[in-house]
C-alpha cells in the first residue's frame, strides 16, 4: 500500500543537542490530506524534511513509497534556468518522460496563470511568481507523497485557490499530502476556516518535540470548487468495487454495503466530483453503476440523475476525465 509510516522517529540536529522531535509514531494512508500545526520553530518543517528524506532521522525509521515532492518554505530564485526549462528538468528528475514533463510544465504554468513567463529566467521573476514555480515543480510530479511547507506564502489569492484545489486533488487521487500553513486558527471566528477545512483528513500538532493528533475541523465548511454557504445536499453513488475500496476517500462518504455486493456511497454534493474523479482515476478501481442526488432535507427517496445504463455512466466518466492533465497522462 502507498502512504507513509514513521516508526519511533526522533530528530536532533547535533549530538547532545535538544530533541526537535521524539518518539514519533505516525501512519498515514494513501489519500490522506494532513495538516501539521505548531508554533514557529516547533519542528513542523523538520517533520516535513524528515518525510522528504532531506534530513535523516536521528532515530527510528521512515517508510514512504512512490514519488516524493517537496515545496520548501523559501525557494531560491538564483538558479540559472528559465521557468519552463527548470520545470521540464525537474519533471525529468521526477522520472517523467520528456514529453510528459513538457506537457505538465505547460499545464501547470497555464493553471497558475504564468504561461507567458515560461521563458523568463528564474532570477528575474517576482517572489510570488517564483513561488508558483516552486509549487508547480512539486505538483507536476503527481507525487505519492506531497510535502507543502508554507507553500501558500507569497501566492496571490487566485494561486492560493489553485494550490488548495491541487492539494485536494492529489489526496483525492490517492496521494498522501502533508501541509504546514499559518492561517488563522478557529478561535478567529467561523468566518476564518482552516485552509482546506472539510477536506483535511487529519491534523497533528507539533509541540515540545511531540506530535499529537488534533480534532479535524468539521466537514461543514465548503471545500474548494463549491459555492460557499450553499447546502447542495448529498449525492449517492452506487459502486461495484473490483477490489476493496480505500480507507480514505474524498469527502469521507458514508458507506452502505448492499446485499448484491455493490456499495452505496453517500457524500456531500460539493465532494462528489472529487470522489468520482478518485474512483475513476485508476488508483481506486471501481465501476460506477449509478449517480443520484439525495435532496438536502428530504427523506431517503432519491431522484436518479443518471439512468442505470452503461452508456450514460460512461458520459459521467468522460466528463470527469476530460481534464487536460489526464489527457497529458494518457498521451
Amino acid at each position: 500500500m502507498t502512504g507513509l509510516r514513521l516508526a519511533g522517529v526522533g530528530k536532533r540536529y547535533r549530538r547532545g543537542g535538544p530533541w526537535v522531535l521524539r518518539d514519533l509514531e505516525l501512519t498515514l494512508p494513501a489519500g490522506a490530506l494532513v495538516r501539521i500545526e505548531g508554533a514557529n520553530g516547533s519542528g513542523k518543517s523538520t517533520l516535513l524534511k524528515l518525510v522528504g528524506g532531506i534530513e535523516p532521522p536521528s532515530r527510528g525509521r521512515i517508510e514512504t513509497s512512490g514519488r516524493r515532492a517537496y515545496v520548501p518554505e523559501r525557494f531560491p530564485p538564483a538558479l540559472p534556468f528559465d521557468a519552463g526549462d527548470y520545470l521540464c528538468r525537474l519533471g525529468r528528475i521526477h522520472g517523467l518522460s520528456a514529453r510528459t514533463a513538457a506537457e505538465r510544465t505547460a499545464y501547470w504554468l497555464e493553471r497558475f496563470g504564468i504561461a507567458d513567463r515560461a521563458g523568463t529566467p528564474l532570477n528575474r521573476l517576482s517572489k510570488g511568481t517564483c513561488q508558483k514555480v516552486a509549487v508547480a515543480q512539486a505538483l507536476l510530479a503527481e507525487a505519492d507523497v506531497l510535502l507543502l511547507d508554507e507553500a501558500w506564502t507569497g501566492l496571490d489569492q487566485a494561486a492560493r485557490a489553485v494550490l488548495d484545489e491541487a492539494a485536494a486533488e492529489r489526496a483525492g487521487q490517492g496521494g498522501t499530502v502533508l501541509f504546514v500553513d499559518h492561517d488563522p486558527p478557529p478561535s478567529s471566528g467561523p468566518g476564518y476556516p482552516h485552509r482546506l477545512a472539510g477536506l483535511t483528513t487529519a491534523a497533528y500538532l507539533v509541540q515540545d518535540g511531540r506530535v499529537t493528533a488534533r480534532e479535524v475541523p468539521a466537514a461543514s465548511a465548503p471545500g474548494p470548487g463549491a459555492p460557499p454557504g450553499e447546502d447542495r445536499g448529498r449525492m449517492q453513488l452506487l459502486v461495484a468495487a473490483t477490489a476493496e475500496l480505500p480507507e480514505l476517500l474524498p469527502g469521507t462518504p458514508e458507506r452502505r454495503p448492499q446485499p448484491d455486493g455493490t456499495v452505496r456511497l453517500l457524500v456531500a454534493a460539493e465532494h462528489s466530483d472529487a470522489l468520482l474523479r478518485r474512483l475513476l482515476g485508476g488508483s481506486a478501481p471501481a465501476h460506477i453503476l449509478e449517480v443520484t442526488r439525495v435532496a438536502a432535507q428530504s427523506g431517503p427517496e432519491a431522484k436518479p440523475l443518471v439512468a442505470r445504463a452503461s452508456s450514460e455512466t460512461r458520459t459521467v466518466a468522460e466528463r470527469a476525465s476530460a481534464e487536460p492533465r489526464t489527457a497529458a497522462e494518457r498521451g
Binding site: G53, P56, L90, I93
Partner: protein, 240 residues
C-alpha cells in the same frame, strides 16, 4: 540518474561556475607549457594541473547555488532534488558532473599540448656522452600515455574534491585550503597514483621512453569510486 546528472552539468555550465577553474587551468598550462618544451614533460604538467582543477570542479558542483540577494534558504534547490531522488543520488550526480568536466579538460588539454608540442627526441642520450640519433618517442604513444595520466589525475582530483566538501568535511572554511593542500600532497607523495602517473611521463621524457600509466589509472579509480560511494552514503545520513 541521467536526468539528475544532466541537470548538474547544465547548472555548472549556465551558472558560469565552470569558468574560474577553467581559466586557472588555462593560465597555468600556458605558463607551464612553453612552445618547444618536450612533449612528455608538457603532458606531465597538464596531468598534474588536473588534480586541483578537478577538485575545484567537484567543489563547484557539490556547493549549493547562491541564494539571490540575501533571500531564500541555500539548500532549497538541493532539497527539492533530494526529496525527488534521495540524497545519495544527488551527491553522485554532482560528482559525475565534475568528473565529466575534468575528463573534457583532460582531452582538451592533451590536444592543446600536442598542438604546442616540442621535440619528441632528446638531444642527448641519458648517460651523457655524444648525441645519438633515434632517441625518439612515438607521438601517438606519448599522447596515449599523457591522456591516461590526465584521467588518473582527474580521478584523484575528484576524490580530493569530494573529501574536502560536505558531507565529508563539514567545516566549509577549511574546504578550499584542504583541497589545495591535499592536491599538492597526492602529487608529491611517492606511491600515490597521481604521483606515479606524472612521474612516468617526466621520467619517460628524460629516458625517451613511453610508459603507459595503466596501473596508476586503476589504482586511482578504486579510491575515487570508494570516496564517491562513501560520500553518497554519508549524504543521506548527515544533518545539514
Amino acid at each position: 540518474m541521467t536526468a539528475l546528472t544532466r541537470y548538474q552539468v547544465e547548472l555548472l555550465l549556465r551558472s558560469q561556475r565552470w569558468l574560474p577553474p577553467f581559466l586557472g587551468y588555462a593560465l597555468l598550462l600556458a605558463v607551464g607549457v612553453q612552445t618547444g618544451s618536450p612533449l612528455l614533460d608538457s603532458l606531465g604538467v597538464n596531468a598534474a594541473l588536473l588534480v586541483p582543477v578537478t577538485a575545484w570542479y567537484a567543489r563547484s558542483t557539490l556547493a549549493d547555488p547562491p541564494p539571490a540577494s540575501g533571500r531564500g534558504y541555500p539548500h532549497a534547490a538541493r532539497a527539492v532534488l533530494v526529496a525527488a531522488r534521495g540524497a545519495a543520488r544527488v551527491q553522485l550526480a554532482a560528482l559525475l558532473a565534475a568528473l565529466l568536466a575534468g575528463l573534457l579538460l583532460a582531452v582538451l588539454g592533451t590536444a592543446a599540448v600536442w598542438a604546442l608540442s616540442g621535440p619528441t627526441a632528446i638531444p642527448q642520450p641519458p648517460a651523457g656522452g655524444t648525441p645519438t640519433p633515434g632517441h625518439q618517442v612515438s607521438v601517438p604513444g606519448a599522447l596515449l600515455a599523457g591522456l591516461l595520466a590526465a584521467v588518473t589525475c582527474v580521478l584523484t582530483g575528484l576524490a580530493v574534491g569530494a573529501l574536502c566538501h560536505r558531507p565529508v568535511l563539514l567545516r566549509a572554511g577549511y574546504g578550499m585550503l584542504g583541497a589545495l593542500g591535499l592536491s599538492v600532497l597526492v602529487l608529491v607523495m611517492p606511491g600515490s597514483p597521481a604521483n606515479q602517473a606524472v612521474r612516468a611521463l617526466v621520467t619517460g621524457s628524460r629516458l625517451a621512453r613511453v610508459e603507459l600509466p595503466v596501473l596508476a589509472l586503476v589504482t586511482a579509480a578504486v579510491p575515487a569510486a570508494l570516496v564517491g560511494a562513501g560520500s553518497a552514503w554519508l549524504a543521506g545520513r548527515r544533518t545539514e
